[in-house]
C-alpha cells in the first residue's frame, strides 16, 4: 500500500473510531453529542452538556476507557515491532521474551496474597509493572552479548520460570481468586480512570517516540549483526537499550490493562506486509494501527455479550487471526 495513503487513512481512522466507540454502549449516545461533550471538556469551549447523565457516561466512563485502549494498543504493537527486530524473530512479542509472564507473576501474587504483608502497599498494577521489569532485567542480564537466537531462547526460558512460579501460586488460590487471575490475564481496559491516563500515556508516548528515533538503527539490525557492526553500530549496546525500553513499555501497558495477547505479534506484521519493514514508518504506523485495533476490539468486547463483557484477550486473536491469515496467504511479494 502507498505509505502516505496508509498514514492518512490511519490518522483519520483513529479519532473516528474513538468517537464511534464512545458513542456506542449500554446507552447509545448520538455521535454529535459525543463530539460536543468531548470538545467541551478538552477545549472548554461550547455549551456545557445539557444532560449530566450523558456527560457522565461519555466523559467519566467511556472516554478514559477508549483513550486507554488506544494507548495500550499502541504500546503493545510498538513493543512487538521492536522485539521482532531486536531478536530477529518474527514470533517475538512481550510474551515470548518473558516480559508478560513476569507481569503475570507480579499480578497473581498480589491477587492471591491480597496485598498481604509480603507485598505491602503494592497494587496489582505496580506488581505487574515490577514483574515485567524484573523479567526484562533478567533477559537483559542473561542475554547480554548473545546472538539473537540465543537471546530469544533466554527470554523463553525466563518466561517459563515465571510461568512455573505463577502456576504454583495459582495452585494455592481460591476459586474466586483464580477467576480474578483469569480475567486479569485476558486483559481489560474496563477499569480505566482519568487519573491513571497521564502517566500511562506519557510513558507510552515518550518511549514510542524514542524508539521511533532509533528507526534507522533498527533497520541496520535487519542487515544482521556483523553487517550492522561494519556499518558503525554498537550492536550489543543498541540491543540492550531497545530491550530496556521494550520492557518499560510492556510493563506500563500490562500493569494497567493485563495480559492482552496477539496485538504485539500481529499488528507489526500487518504493517510490514502492507507498507514494508522500514522502521521509520513501521513504528508510527504500527502505533496507529495498534490503537485503532484495540479501540475496536474493546468496543466489541463490551457490545457482543451485552450487558456482560468479554475480556479483551479472547477477542484480540479471535478477530485478528482470520484477517491476518488471509493477508499472510495473499501478500507473498515481500518474503
Amino acid at each position: 500500500m502507498h505509505v502516505p495513503l496508509a498514514v492518512t487513512v490511519l490518522t483519520v481512522a483513529l479519532p473516528v473510531t474513538m468517537v464511534v466507540a464512545i458513542s456506542i454502549g449500554a446507552v447509545d449516545v448520538p455521535l454529535g453529542d459525543v463530539w460536543g461533550i468531548v470538545w467541551h471538556h478538552v477545549t472548554g469551549a461550547g455549551a456545557p452538556p445539557a444532560d449530566p447523565a450523558l456527560d457522565q457516561i461519555v466523559w467519566t466512563f467511556r472516554t478514559p476507557r477508549v483513550v486507554l485502549a488506544a494507548v495500550v494498543g499502541a504500546g503493545l504493537a510498538v513493543t512487538g515491532a521492536v522485539l521482532q527486530t531486536v531478536v530477529s524473530n518474527p514470533l517475538a512479542d512481550p510474551t515470548v521474551l518473558g516480559f508478560s509472564y513476569g507481569a503475570t507473576l507480579g499480578a497473581v501474587l498480589v491477587i492471591t496474597l491480597g496485598g498481604g504483608a509480603a507485598l505491602a502497599g503494592l497494587g496489582v498494577s505496580a506488581a505487574a509493572f515490577l514483574g515485567a521489569l524484573a523479567a526484562g532485567a533478567l533477559v537483559f542480564a542473561l542475554g547480554q552479548r548473545l546472538a539473537p537466537t540465543r537471546l530469544v531462547l533466554a527470554g523463553v526460558a525466563v518466561g517459563y520460570v515465571f510461568l512455573s512460579a505463577t502456576s504454583f501460586v495459582q495452585l494455592r488460590a481460591t476459586p474466586t481468586e483464580l477467576r480474578t487471575v483469569m480475567f486479569w490475564m485476558l486483559g481489560s481496559v474496563a477499569g480505566a480512570q482519568w487519573d491513571q491516563l497521564p502517566t500511562v500515556t506519557a510513558v507510552v508516548g515518550v518511549t514510542t517516540a524514542l524508539l521511533a528515533l532509533f528507526g534507522r538503527r533498527l533497520n541496520l539490525l535487519l542487515a544482521g549483526d556483523e553487517s550492522a557492526t561494519a556499518l558503525g553500530v554498537d550492536v550489543n549496546r543498541l540491543r540492550a537499550l531497545l530491550l530496556v525500553l521494550s520492557a518499560l513499555l510492556t510493563g506500563t501497558v500490562i500493569a494497567v490493562a493485563g495480559g492482552i495477547g496477539f496485538v504485539g505479534l500481529m499488528i507489526p506484521h500487518l504493517v510490514r506486509l502492507t507498507t514494508g519493514a522500514d522502521h521509520r514508518r513501521l513504528l508510527p504506523l504500527t502505533a496507529l494501527l495498534g490503537s485503532v485495533y484495540l479501540v475496536l476490539v474493546d468496543l466489541l468486547s463490551r457490545t457482543l455479550a451485552r450487558p456482560g463483557e468479554l475480556p479483551l484477550g479472547i477477542l484480540t486473536a479471535l478477530l485478528g487471526a482470520p484477517f491476518f491469515l488471509w493477508l499472510l496467504r495473499r501478500n507473498k511479494g515481500l518474503d
Partner: protein, 257 residues
C-alpha cells in the same frame, strides 16, 4: 586509502586464531586473502572492519588505528560485504537496503538529504541494480543480491572495501561481473576468496594464511608457487602467466597425489 595490518594477534575464547599477522595494501590495491578453511581469513576481516578487537597489534586504515576511531567514523572509511549479509531483510526493498549504507554518515537525528540520495542513486547505478531497485531483496537471485550488498557498501562512500567470499554460490558469469564491478570502483580492497582462479584474476597481491599465520605474501606469481600450493593447500598445481597476460593455475592430473 592504504591499509596496514601490523603484528595482529587475535584470540577467541582463549584460543589464538591469528598470530603475528601483518599485511599492507597501498591506495587502490586489491589484496586477496586465501587459505584453507579455518585458517583465520574471516577473523582477519573482522579485525579490519572493527568488529573484533585484537589482543595485540594494530589495524590502520589511512593513518589511523581503527580502534582509535569511533565506530561510525571507521564505517565512513571501511565498508564490508559479508557472507549471508542479507540478514533478516524481509520486507526491505533494494533501495532501502542500499540506503542503509548512509547510516554512518548520520547521527541519531539525521535525516536523508540530497547528498544521501545522490550517493544511493550513484551506488545503484554503478552496481547495475537500477532495474530491480524497487523489488524486495528476498525476491532476488544470488548474483543480484551480492550486487545489492556491494551497492550498499559503495553508498557508504568507503576508502577501503572488505569483501568476504563475495562470489560464493554464484554462477560463472555473475562471478566475472562482480570482479569487474569491484575493479571499476578503484577503491582499495581486501578480499577473502576461496576460488584461487578468481583470486589470481582480481588481486594485485595475495596473502596466504595457514593456521592463523601468514604463510606467504606478495605478487600473485611469487606467492602461488607449486611448493606453496602443495604445502598450504595440499594440491599439486602450477601457476603461470599466459600469453594473454592472465595468470592461470593449472592443476595436475591427480592434484591430490
Amino acid at each position: 586509502m592504504k591499509l596496514i595490518v601490523d603484528q595482529l594477534h587475535i584470540t577467541l575464547d582463549r584460543t589464538p586464531i591469528l598470530r603475528e599477522v601483518s599485511l599492507q595494501a597501498r591506495e587502490g590495491d586489491i589484496v586477496g586473502v586465501v587459505g584453507p578453511n579455518g585458517s583465520g581469513k574471516s577473523t582477519l576481516l573482522r579485525a579490519v572492519y572493527r568488529s573484533l578487537r585484537p589482543a595485540d597489534g594494530v589495524v590502520r586504515v589511512g593513518d589511523d588505528d581503527v580502534w582509535a576511531l569511533s565506530a561510525p567514523a571507521a564505517a565512513r572509511r571501511t565498508a564490508a560485504v559479508l557472507q549471508d549479509a542479507g540478514g533478516n531483510t524481509t520486507g526491505l526493498t533494494v533501495t532501502e537496503i542500499v540506503a542503509l549504507g548512509r547510516a554512518p554518515h548520520h547521527g541519531l537525528l539525521g535525516r536523508d538529504g540530497a547528498e544521501d540520495r545522490a550517493a544511493v542513486s550513484d551506488a545503484i547505478d554503478r552496481c547495475g541494480v537500477r532495474p530491480f531497485a524497487h523489488r524486495a531483496y528476498a525476491s532476488l537471485s544470488g548474483g543480484e543480491r551480492q550486487r545489492v550488498l556491494l551497492a550498499r557498501a559503495l553508498a557508504q562512500q568507503p576508502r577501503l572495501l572488505v569483501l568476504d567470499e563475495l562470489t560464493n554460490h554464484l554462477d560463472i558469469r555473475a562471478r566475472f561481473e562482480l570482479l569487474d564491478l569491484i575493479r571499476a570502483t578503484g577503491v582499495t580492497a581486501l578480499a577473502v576468496l576461496h576460488d584461487l582462479d578468481l583470486a589470481t584474476r582480481l588481486c594485485d597481491h595475495l596473502v596466504v594464511l595457514r593456521e592463523g599465520t601468514v604463510a606467504a605474501a606478495g605478487p600473485v606469481l611469487d606467492v602461488l608457487t607449486p611448493d606453496l600450493l602443495a604445502d598450504v593447500f595440499g594440491i599439486r598445481a602450477g601457476t603461470e602467466r599466459h600469453a594473454d597476460g592472465v595468470i592461470r593455475i593449472t592443476y595436475a592430473a591427480n592434484p591430490l597425489a
